[in-house]
Symmetry: D2
Subunit: 418 residues, 4 copies
Amino acid sequence: MDFSPSPRVEELRERIAAFLDEHVYPVELEALHALDTEVGPGKPYPDILVAIRERAKAEGLWNLFLPDEEHGTGLTNWEYGMLCEAMGRSLVAPMAFNCSAPDTGNIEILVDHGTSEQKDTWLRPLLEGDIRSCFSMTEPETSGSDPTGLRGTAVLDGDEWVIDAHKWFTSGAVGADVAIAMVVTDPDAAPHRRASMILVPTDAEGFNLIRPVSVMGHSGGPGHCEIRYEGCRVPKENLLGERGAGFKIAQDRLGPGRIHHCMRAIGAAERGIELMCKRANTRISFGGPLADKQFIQDFVAKSRIETDGARLMVLNAAWQMDEYGKREARQAISMTKVVAANVVMDVLDRAIQVHGALGVSDDTPLAVMWRSLRMLRLADGPDEVHKMVIAMRELNRWKSEAGAEPAQKPAAVAAGAS
Amino acid sequence: MDFSPSPRVEELRERIAAFLDEHVYPVELEALHALDTEVGPGKPYPDILVAIRERAKAEGLWNLFLPDEEHGTGLTNWEYGMLCEAMGRSLVAPMAFNCSAPDTGNIEILVDHGTSEQKDTWLRPLLEGDIRSCFSMTEPETSGSDPTGLRGTAVLDGDEWVIDAHKWFTSGAVGADVAIAMVVTDPDAAPHRRASMILVPTDAEGFNLIRPVSVMGHSGGPGHCEIRYEGCRVPKENLLGERGAGFKIAQDRLGPGRIHHCMRAIGAAERGIELMCKRANTRISFGGPLADKQFIQDFVAKSRIETDGARLMVLNAAWQMDEYGKREARQAISMTKVVAANVVMDVLDRAIQVHGALGVSDDTPLAVMWRSLRMLRLADGPDEVHKMVIAMRELNRWKSEAGAEPAQKPAAVAAGAS
Amino acid sequence: MDFSPSPRVEELRERIAAFLDEHVYPVELEALHALDTEVGPGKPYPDILVAIRERAKAEGLWNLFLPDEEHGTGLTNWEYGMLCEAMGRSLVAPMAFNCSAPDTGNIEILVDHGTSEQKDTWLRPLLEGDIRSCFSMTEPETSGSDPTGLRGTAVLDGDEWVIDAHKWFTSGAVGADVAIAMVVTDPDAAPHRRASMILVPTDAEGFNLIRPVSVMGHSGGPGHCEIRYEGCRVPKENLLGERGAGFKIAQDRLGPGRIHHCMRAIGAAERGIELMCKRANTRISFGGPLADKQFIQDFVAKSRIETDGARLMVLNAAWQMDEYGKREARQAISMTKVVAANVVMDVLDRAIQVHGALGVSDDTPLAVMWRSLRMLRLADGPDEVHKMVIAMRELNRWKSEAGAEPAQKPAAVAAGAS
Amino acid sequence: MDFSPSPRVEELRERIAAFLDEHVYPVELEALHALDTEVGPGKPYPDILVAIRERAKAEGLWNLFLPDEEHGTGLTNWEYGMLCEAMGRSLVAPMAFNCSAPDTGNIEILVDHGTSEQKDTWLRPLLEGDIRSCFSMTEPETSGSDPTGLRGTAVLDGDEWVIDAHKWFTSGAVGADVAIAMVVTDPDAAPHRRASMILVPTDAEGFNLIRPVSVMGHSGGPGHCEIRYEGCRVPKENLLGERGAGFKIAQDRLGPGRIHHCMRAIGAAERGIELMCKRANTRISFGGPLADKQFIQDFVAKSRIETDGARLMVLNAAWQMDEYGKREARQAISMTKVVAANVVMDVLDRAIQVHGALGVSDDTPLAVMWRSLRMLRLADGPDEVHKMVIAMRELNRWKSEAGAEPAQKPAAVAAGAS
């Protein structure tokens, strides 16, 4: 048992922290504003971010998420998890290092499943940071938790897929060059073999970006877009991975993706604690600093405890993915997802409360983090679906007496993990 | 003991509900948008709201909040509380009936403390709904929970007050005709006798509206404004109430104001329950409606229980104000404030969760209610200050043995209330 | 709307409080001990309690629970609710006033359904306080939440019922003269018409008291007993109420019973607050009384808020029973049950925490109240079943648009109550 | 980063689990009963436990807690932590392996601070398991959280210490041969140099065992005893460690002791999950097993998540103690203490709830674990004191900008830990 980071990740983490201090925090709110107003077709990033990204790329703080050693850094999941936390401290930081969703997940599946032509066309410029991409799965009419209900379709017509689908929460579509659409290609196959993934250039005819859905009052920037694919035609070579493998690829994509989201949430919680404490140390009320009031101490202590607990759970899940594979780590990943998404909301809520009126204003990054991260309790599976799945796995362990003493490997720290 | 509404309030409530169904809900999101974009100097309300307001006024659903029988309806606090709940179901509803903060509070203090000239100039057009007003108390540099720290000043120079103050969260300043500024006029008086209230026309020189502070991503409409009073001069007749009575008037204003906020919060929670249930009844997932899942049932049951409990507490506090006066009802009001501000957030959070991605979008009124109402846990005293005060009153009851059996009046239902 | 107690109940409440101060609290722990050790066949109450009971009876503080004016006081449910709260402040108090479960419920159904012979034999001595009774419904093998699963049977053999059943949690069986057993008499009838109630003298052959089940470490006194009815014969005249009406009678019994339990829980919570505050006011730690620490203030404030909220909900449910009947008040009763059973545990837990090591000891009444009252979250329906039922009623309100504006009577304060 | 147990600890854990399955669980309730009734002066353990202990000793499952390689097994804190968890699954298990408090802590300080004569007299028979010991620190009149308030004294009179002190919660005094008393020996020294530890044979004159304090209804067995040291004389050689070093030794004793308590709590929570799940899988209600109800799934999922999170926090704290020392690990230990003590209560509460009436009975080990473990939120520092300390350390990190990037070692997983 060893809780130390490797020297390599320790060094990277320090460099990221220093980069954030120097180049990101000072322009954080400005960059968020630029992102909202400057992004559009042909312009994936606002100028202020382009400059920051060039610097990060030059310093080698780039594409750190890729476990693949050819294209990426070859960090393990737990190693990258630690870096991800650092990047989660600011909503603009992931973009600074070309490590932002949904590009990260899209890049991963292009690395794993893309043809060499697909790699040339989309993977390379994504890795270079020249373009952005989006991921088109969620549909307004069907429950995302139950993917067998998917309705959007693609039909092979000669050499082309003809796509008809109504999607929303296609995040990042504004300013993206390409979408990966998940649609039913084989309606008569077994439920989990019905869908495929298809690459769709955003300038394809029939790719109609209806609107960036206003989410928590915000519709600027890359957006969470509503898209109508209406007789949208793309070459049959745009199929990504095997036909019918859509669910499997989506599932593979989700494992590390959930961990990334969770680690960023831990980082956001850490930022919340930092701001909460700095405010408490300096704000005077009723004759002394807020830091002297036990109500505030209670906030700080709970936030520290919950954040440290959540971090350990996420790192453990990442380590399980590294050691035993994504499938074996499912229980840990689900638990992590529930915990991190809730902890970050509670910590940010307390940080807001400690800031008083300033906390609900947008003069600090707290309010925007709070309302943006609310989505995490729904994205990639709502809390309730994860809890149902966690419970059923646990309950099944105890169905036979044999289950009473599980022989699994990571038993020490994850008695409930398989 | 009797929990029935009076026939009069029952009838008003039904009329308000019908009015909302017919005239408000159908255009609710549109009206919110118009409010954000059309309001400005000389234009207190957008056209869509002007039309709705005219209709409400014509139907006599107007100024219901005023306990004063000359200018208002003469409803008791608990009676108006019930109507306030109904109006809280939509963020635009209070404006429809000329019952929105901060006008309500400003009108009350003008009725109680205004000179007849002040009444002619400001009270009458406010009651008619021709103008809006704002209230300028909170300062960025000082803690609102501890009003003795107030820094803004007004100095009498001949026949004029010269005001210098830095205020923010002056809600509704955009499009308002007049502000009531709370400033220190007597710096050497006892701590609670230092401040006064002064009426300041928003077109007075030196009344500088710096910006509507962006709050939870929102800076449109009437706004929560940052104001700099810089050598701002108004006639000495603009003093509202007695010199040095600022705190007392503010305190009087807060009692009913808190109850109104809380009752509206109950209404917002009821709206959340309605939308949560309707969604649960119709959304299919995993082979059946969400309503059949116990996770959702747990949300519904907790929401119903907490909302009904909070309503009873608010009505009881209102009734105590009616029966025993604002001062005697303080404990009940403080408790009410903590409960209602928290319950509404929890209920809306669950309603969002049940709606999935739709819940965080602005295609329903849930997300905007959730992020707007977050402020209620801070406004009019943060939870923690109220809890401190509640606890100290309770602890003091038990300091002498005499306290063990309090002889107070409303003992039946509020053993801890004095 | 009126939250005042009636003068009559106000006067009774004061007399009960004075009685407790003078005669109960001073011997509370002693009386609990005597109850544990002296009770047995032919000895329903220990001497110390007999003396207290005589005094209470002489003062007319006796059988206050009975709404029936012939045998009881004719108080309404909400009136008695207030008295019940006062009695809930001590675990021995209800016995002092001949108002303890399960006698109260048994007396009520004897009044409503007993033949005149049954009344002579059992009702009269119960009202006089000469005997105790018990209620035999719960079975170890079947779920109490789902009463249609009941297994115990009674078969009419000539002029006698022959009862075979395995019951437990037959509370108060040690020292009781009579049990009311709920058993299946009509196995082929519709599910809710299968059971009946039968009066069984505890000295009947075949009434085998196996053991007082140790509950939370406690098996003394009247006990929560395991009973085996083995070919137990009683005259057919011992049928209580109509044949097949068992469920209906049990349901009727539960309504007021739940309210009584809940009001006593409120009283226990009030006792917890009193002891918590007195301790906090006097215990010195880190240089001052605990009352000065905000951690403790947070405990006190939350306890006061939750207890006052719960009280209002219980009184409202009682008032609804009085005004609209038990059936109409079901939703309010279910909500009340969940709230009160949880609030009292939280408040007592905080009171224990404030007392430190003393709190977990039995040198105060807190620890015994805490572990005894844990059962309330299970008895008369576990929280989860009540929440399920509450949710389904609420969800059904919104199934048709008509439901959106309920026309029910007590709408003001119980929008969700029907 | 590595979450695997070492092969050695993995093997020991499996042997302990097998031992519990075979020898402990089948007689668990019986052994608890024997412990309550058979223990007394000269009889440290009941026969049934003596037999189990002999077997465990023969198998080498003995004194596993001792980091000292001469007397113990030389396991690290995190390694023993894992074993401790296994033992926490049953209240009698720690005794089976001679690993129960307070003997473990007493043995540790005898190893570290005992003279060779003290070791011969007390350490050896404790290690052999021939005697038991107790620890006499807590006083009814002073706050245990604030040890500088200690009142009990020892005065050197010639060759003897004369002890006068009033202690309680001297756990295990019934049947113990020796007590370690913490008393003020140097009243004029600096606050943390005033107290010393003294070994007191329980048959010394003036060692008056007043009573085993009834705790949560339980006063049997080794007890949590009230002791009056009244002119109690022991040889001056009975001073344990240096004079005035009492606080330091107590503090050293607490570090691992807290971890042990917490790991046992994790084990108790795991037992709760096991019983909860087995019950849910087999109990039928409303037409299916409880396991199919989402209310129960919610219990299971939350319990699994919280327990796994707590385990990781405790193991991390243990590992920090191993790597950086007790002092550096303080923050982690405090956090661990709060989390584990609360999680186990919540999990056991849910397990009780799933068992219905059976859950509050003593027919399962749940109810006794629940009421016994309540003390853990108070023992070794109440939650509130730990939270205050955690918060102040965290707040201090942010007082200077330097604090913003802590240079500490275990930064990866415990950003807030120093």
